[in-house]
């Protein structure tokens, strides 16, 4: 199959024509390749490769590097399909196809989209892009300006393109597209611009829209089936995406969809999370603001919602619910269950039954979390499934123009988009986290289409500031069956890069100051580190080429955590509140996108 991809275009056409619905499902089982941004449909981010082991990883060394030619934040990771690596960049969203068979890693083709630069000022948190998708012989790119393009994987030729949104209304794209079966899924960003979030399925062959499900609005828009779709085991009421808002506010309600998606082919369900309700000023939007901050389970073919779970009703802190949904089958108290595990921005690690949406575990994955005492797990309680808030940290109760202090976690969450991995051998989830708190002051804000609609200012600082601690990250191992931290490594900075675990017993991740690290999955013991040219906010991947295992990661500091640094500052202490906390990053690293590929010496 890989050879076919690289042979004549006739063969590729034949392949595309013959593409079966489950081609991608077969491909993702081959550990030599990395065919999806999430590793596989289940978002496990685990590789069966095991040439690199706990014994020999200390000898790991860079094998080759590639400059992307772009500054600013490099999130996501390249794909490896056969002997070709597909690499993306932040805005302007160039795509490179690199020949892995060639000793010089020659560029097979390059795609350079032409985008109106007026999209840049409507991107909230740096001009990041989280990567590409592959399916049906095509490479899919979701450009910043919301254009979804399908490129011929062999030649880079544009096969079709479709506009998924309108940047003049603040709608942008940062997420990777995801191919599941015969459809490509894209979300939308712009929660700080009053964008009403949606997920859209397009036919991989034609680019034809198959369905679109909104995060709020009438049932016809949300694709919720009243009486049938469930929330915590109970049927959802009619038009709940309107009735939990005041007036027409749902039309600018946020709930954007810029994270990672997963898919269970047996259940035929797609899982993802929706983001913060707009504005950040909770006083201006009374109600539960459904279905922002929600885990969604939708039918792949129709988009109809099977179940939903709103984690943070009426958000007061910008705790977007967009982080990845990891589909792991686990032994829950002696019973094998199909679970979904999610580490939310709000600091709770959730384990749900992914068939029914039943809430099984909700525990803090950073002990610093203080905005809620716990999630109510009592099924007979009126507040079942809701977080039990602490008045002192409620920006709603403290009100507008009041600076609510020392809320943990900060707006960027105990964990943001940086995806975790799951190692079935140890039963551990390996989670990159933030250890940051904030002061948050909401204020009145007015909505104009295409203009910022933020309504709060905030400052962030290390969670242990009151104890004289300065570290702002932890890399942890989590047992999602019971909701407990198994081990935790302090990191000087928030861990903003995604983890990958392997059958070599190793977990890899990158750090903001620029280290690629390898730790023992069982114990967390650090076995290797290497300082790459810039801070890492990208996700680690691993693949095999010519019989050798490689580990690849993009460095290029930026994103929300690195925004102050991306802005070239060194001494400031603000910036969607992020900078003070990260100011000293400038003592360690500077901007610039580089891919570094590691291997054991011959």
């Amino acid at each position: 199959m890989h050879k076919l991809l690289l042979s004549t275009s006739v063969a590729v056409l034949a392949l595309a024509g013959a593409a079966k619905a489950d081609d991608l499902q077969t491909l993702q089982k081959d550990p030599k390749q990395w065919v999806m941004p999430t590793g596989d449909y289940a978002n496990l981010r685990h590789s069966a490769l095991k040439q690199i082991t706990t014994e020999n990883v200390g000898k790991l060394a860079p094998a080759w590097q590639f400059s992307t030619g772009v500054l600013r934040g490099h999130e996501g990771a390249p794909l490896v399909i056969g002997d070709v690596m597909y690499l993306h960049t932040p805005f302007p969203n160039n795509v490179y196809a690199l020949d892995l068979k060639d000793p010089d890693h020659k560029i097979l083709w390059k795609y350079e989209p032409k985008q109106d630069p007026s999209v840049v000022p409507v991107m909230c948190c740096d001009t990041v892009n989280r990567g590409l998708a592959y399916g049906d012989g095509k490479i899919f790119l979701a450009q910043a300006d919301t254009t979804l393009v399908a490129l011929d994987a062999k030649s880079g030729k544009l096969l079709w393109s479709v506009k998924n949104g309108d940047p003049s209304k603040g709608q942008t794209s940062t997420a990777a597209p995801h191919v599941f079966k015969d459809k490509v899924f894209v979300g939308i960003a712009g929660g700080e611009f009053g964008v009403r979030g949606h997920i859209t399925a397009y036919d991989v062959k034609t680019g034809q829209q198959v369905w679109r499900g909104y995060s709020m609005g009438p049932d016809a828009d949300t694709l919720i089936e009243p009486g049938k779709t469930t929330h915590l085991g109970k049927p959802v009421e009619k038009d709940s995406g309107i009735t939990t808002w005041e007036g027409d506010q749902w039309k600018i309600g946020g709930g954007t969809t810029w994270g990672w998606y997963s898919y269970d082919p047996d259940l035929n369900l797609v899982y993802y999370g929706s983001g913060n309700p707009s504005t950040w000023n909770p006083k201006q939007r009374p109600g539960d603001n459904r279905w922002s901050m929600t885990i969604w389970a939708r039918d792949l073919d129709t988009g109809k919602a099977k179940w939903v779970y709103q984690m943070t009703p009426h958000d007061e802190w910008d705790y977007d619910g967009i982080n990845e949904m990891i589909l792991a089958d686990q032994d829950m108290g002696g019973q094998k269950r199909k679970t979904l595990v999610h580490f939310d921005r709000n600091g709770f690690g959730y384990t749900l039954d992914r068939v029914t949406g039943e809430l099984l575990v909700a525990e803090k994955f950073d002990p610093a979390v203080n905005w809620a005492s716990k999630v109510d797990m009592d099924k007979s309680s009126k507040t079942y499934g809701r977080p039990l808030g602490v008045a002192k940290y409620s920006t709603e109760q403290n009100g507008e123009d009041v600076n609510t202090q020392y809320v943990c976690p900060a707006a960027l969450g105990s964990k943001d988009q940086q995806p975790a991995s799951y190692d079935a051998t140890t039963g551990l989830f390996l989670v990159p986290t933030n250890h940051v708190c904030m002061d948050y002051e909401p204020f009145r804000v007015s909505y104009t289409a295409g203009q910022p609609y933020v309504g709060a200012t905030l400052e962030m600082f290390p969670a242990g500031k009151d104890k004289g601690e300065t570290h702002t990250g932890n890399f942890i191992a989590w047992d999602a069956k019971v909701g407990k931290i198994v081990w935790s490594n302090k990191e000087q900075f928030s861990v903003w890069g995604g983890a990958t675990s392997t059958d070599g017993g190793i977990t890899f991740y990158g750090t903001l100051e620029g280290y690629l690290k390898a730790v023992d999955t069982k114990t967390g013991k650090e076995l290797y580190k290497y300082k790459t040219p810039s801070g890492i906010i990208g996700n680690v991947t691993t693949y095999e080429s010519g019989g050798k295992q490689y580990v690849a990661v993009l460095s290029g500091v930026g994103g929300w955590a690195g925004i102050g640094l991306a802005a070239g500052l060194s001494k400031s202490n603000e910036g969607l509140g992020a900078v003070g906390n990260y100011a000293s990053l400038a003592n360690y690293t500077a901007l610039g996108g580089v891919l570094t590929v590691f291997a054991l010496p011959n």
């Binding site: 000022p121 203009q451 991306a566 603000e574």
Partner: protein, 169 residues
């Protein structure tokens, strides 16, 4: 506050065309008078005031808040600039008040750098004076980067003008 702003904006929009040649340096930012908690320099342009105890005027604080909701994503925290947009704490050393207001309202483009027009964005257009005095305070080192520690109370005139401006259709 808002009527004088409207005048300035009209001027600003005109000046925006071919503005660089017409740019006039702002005068000494020292406050020489104050009306209803708002401070003005000798030229009559809005400016900051920092008391001996470090207490900032309300408009400087308001500018800090609005800047870090509307502007900082491109222009960097504390007016420090980024690879996409200039450091406004330096720009306000070159732009006078009218030109600053004109650019905020009318926008401008320079190659791949795009400053959107904020005429319709009340979160910026109702607070041009606040943004200007905040950046002026930063530019002269009168305030440290970050959230100002102490601030004067919110003047009634501010609250009234804010309500009027934000509720305009």
């Amino acid at each position: 506050m808002r009527s004088s702003l409207a005048g300035a904006l009209a001027l600003g929009v005109i000046m925006c065309v071919g503005s660089s040649a017409m740019a006039e340096a702002p005068g000494d930012p020292k406050a020489v008078k104050s009306t209803d908690g708002k401070y003005f320099d000798a030229k009559g342009d809005p400016t900051f005031n920092v008391g001996p105890d470090g207490k900032v005027d309300w408009y400087t604080f308001s500018g800090y808040r609005r800047y870090h909701a509307e502007c900082h994503v491109c222009h960097g925290p504390n007016g420090g600039g980024s690879t996409y947009a200039p450091a406004l704490k330096d720009s306000v050393k070159r732009f006078d008040y009218a030109e600053f207001a004109g650019i905020v309202i009318g926008g401008r483009q320079n190659g791949n750098s795009v400053m959107p027009a904020f005429a319709e964005n009340k979160n910026a257009s109702c607070y041009i004076d606040d943004l200007y005095v905040y950046l002026r305070a930063l530019s002269t080192g009168a305030i440290e980067p970050g959230r100002p520690g102490k601030k004067e109370d919110r003047p009634e005139a501010f609250a009234k003008a804010e309500t009027e401006c934000m509720s305009q259709k």
